[in-house]
Point group: C2
Chain length 439, copies 2
């Protein structure tokens, strides 16, 4: 088994290649956090405790990979088991995340040498990296350079991204909960604007995340069931923005339904590739608007059609909304964490647990390992057949894909009217190196 | 009893003054809607069914008072009882609301004459008006002019406003649920930015409603429990914006905690009274920013302190968020609707059911009738002793006031991963008048 192979450079391990000896694991959260990334952490940590012959302690990087580079490791074994269980219902990154992409070995060999230095010092044999596209690339690099630098580490990527844009996996943990939040919020806000439209607001705009892929915007489409149900307009990054067609669609909706709800992806672009949010569009008052496509769209509607509008920008609220997380999403987030450990102890290296949708009418899924090399830096956008011909809605096929992902309400416990989210103690692992590293 | 008194002008009622004869009731939703205004509608309709000797049918105005003026009435008796029950868990205005303030009798006598014409035609003896300050004023006027125009109507206001700014009542139905949504969202987003702050976003800004009163902003303060917990800064309309003090507070929080969460009321103003959102403030890129105080504050932080930021504007999402409604709020919304009917059949006129907090440590409340004349057009803002000395937080007294209002999770039922909100049939009452009225 790969994971139990070791080299002479590993102290205390010489000659033990055939028989597993527990080695420590490093776990890190990377990139934008989600409502369920801590469920994956719980999956990794709880599963690791079931393989004491393979895995010693799980050390989490404080603020992701930066914790590894700076030898700032959190000893998860010092946390109460109840705390680890509670991570399942706690949003955001309990150990701290980082937007920090490792460069290639050629560009910054020092970074990798430092990683290996820290891994050696703490006898780390497993590397679990919980993130999106960039992070799968990092995990792949670490799996390769470990070998190159004489310290092989078993690397498993743990998928996480609200953008739902990783390939090979049917969906990405984190997405289902954002999708549920956006679908619920769109349905609720639509009822509001429908109530007000007779004398006041006629157009409501909800800006959602997804700079390159329109999966979250598509999820807004779940709010309606029938033709003319809100949202009447969805703007996808995958579809070049056609202003006259858009305005005609809004006008038609207001004239037919009395109001119009628009869900717009932050990544919506003009045909020439400029983001609407960055295109210097004027708002209703002639001022240049920047820093949100929602107000840009609202201003355009006001200026061209004269309708009274409201707009909302959900921003972090959408991806942190653990209070309305999808049960399927929580289950899958936990499952990929758990599977990552199981794959690692079975000797799989440079893989990612992927969620595989099973054929059949009822939604069933399983986990399979897929090679990181095929995942890293590949982006899965919304396919054209998931978007209606006019470019402003989702098709029945898209609905069939999305609907199971928002199933079930995984409510957190409440105390005094508020979700009882957990905080880790975050006990630091004693430093072993005299060297420091500046990031 | 006042409510059973009638004049010769009412057909079929002559000589029946001493003995109640059922007369119909008019119910309307007014102004901005809430997550629980339909619970009040359910309270009115279900209670009315328990007084068949007093109240015949409940007719709801389609789009509020406009439905009365245009004789566009919805027959609530044509709705399935299950639909009326489901209003308790359905946000926004099921019958349609209106932003339409009746003028004084002197300014527009025709409006009142038209109302009375419609009320007479449909034998309406009760007027239940579900709204905020302006609506209580309207209900008061109708109670006065009914008499003046020879058609007395028993008028009871049903309180509703997310702004929580009605006097005499301890709180306003609609507020508790927004407060819960904002407190939950602030807590969640704070965990997100805390995760990201090491390498990315350091300041998160959440813009909330409340143009004149900072109750909703104050509710954001419930997210934290200890000093230094998020939100570290709350900006109230009641406190003149002090830019240097604000920036110093943000800087201090980032330096001490690594990040800063700001909850800003849309009504935050400069000392000279200008709204920040309308003050032509430049964003980080030197562009004039308008249409949201959230981005204005974020831009200011970026420009002056250089911190990376994110901002969210919850807008309608906050007041429509029935999925995370407060159980106390839902109960109170229902109770004020029910009490309005009970007061009316007991002969109270020109009153509003108010929520009275009982003394004692445990939160208990009851309903009492208060005179509309003392409610109309009076605005209750956040008292100074509810705001910390520095103007950026809430005091323990404020927390004691707010906390019970967000207690309990009144989850709606779900189907296919989404809340199962009800839609009324909305069967129109047959028109009796040949005249029409243009609003």
């Amino acid at each position: 088994m790969k994971t139990t192979a070791r080299k002479k450079t590993v102290k205390r391990a010489a000659g033990a290649a055939a028989k597993p000896r527990p080695r420590n694991a490093f776990y890190a959260q990377s990139g934008g956090v989600t409502a369920v990334i801590n469920a994956s952490a719980a999956g990794v940590i709880e599963a690791a405790r079931k393989f004491p012959k393979h895995i010693g302690k799980v050390y989490a990087g404080r603020h992701g990979i930066i914790g590894a580079l700076t030898e700032d490791l959190i000893d998860t074994s010092a946390e109460d088991p109840a705390t680890i269980r509670a991570l399942r219902h706690t949003p955001a990154g309990a150990f701290g995340s980082a937007r920090f992409k490792l460069k290639g070995l050629e560009q910054n060999r020092a970074e990798y040498e430092r990683l290996i230095e820290v891994f050696k010092a703490h006898d780390i044999g497993y590397f679990f990296y919980n993130g999106g596209n960039d992070s799968m690339d990092t995990a792949l690099k670490v799996s390769q350079i470990g070998e190159a630098l004489g310290y092989p580490v078993t690397c498993v990527g743990v998928p996480k991204t609200v953008d739902n844009d990783l390939p090979l996996t049917d969906c990405c943990p984190g997405f289902g909960s954002v999708a549920k939040y956006i679908a619920v919020s769109t349905r609720e806000a639509a009822l509001d604007v429908a109530s007000m439209a007779r004398t006041s607001t006629k157009v409501f705009v909800l800006e959602v995340m997804g700079r390159h892929a329109g999966w979250i915007a598509a999820a807004g489409g779940l709010a309606g069931r029938k033709a003319d149900d809100a949202p009447q307009v969805i703007l996808f990054p995958e579809i070049a923005f056609d202003k006259p067609a858009f305005l005609a669609k809004v006008k038609q909706s207001v004239e037919r339904n009395g109001y119009c709800v628009i869900v717009v992806s932050e990544g919506t672009r003009y045909p020439d590739g400029r983001f609407l949010a960055e295109a210097g569009t004027k708002d209703a008052f002639g001022h240049t608007q920047l820093g949100g496509v929602g107000p840009v769209i609202a201003g355009m509607v006001k200026e061209e059609l004269g309708y009274k509008y409201h707009w909302a920008v959900a921003d972090y609220l959408q991806r942190a909304a653990r209070h309305i997380a999808s049960q399927v999403d929580v289950d899958q987030a936990y499952a990929v964490g758990k599977a990552a450990v199981e794959f690692a102890v079975k000797g799989h290296n440079a893989v990612m647990p992927a969620i595989i949708r099973q054929p059949g009418k009822a939604y069933r899924w399983k986990i399979e390992a897929v090679p990181l090399a095929e995942v890293a830096n590949v982006e899965k956008t919304v396919p054209r057949h998931f978007i209606t011909a006019d470019g402003f809605g989702i098709t029945a096929a898209c609905r069939r894909y999305l609907e199971p992902l928002i199933a079930g309400e995984a409510y957190p416990p409440y105390v005094d009217g508020l979700p009882d989210y957990v905080r880790i103690k975050g006990k630091a692992v004693k430093r072993k190196l005299k060297t420091t590293y500046k990031v």
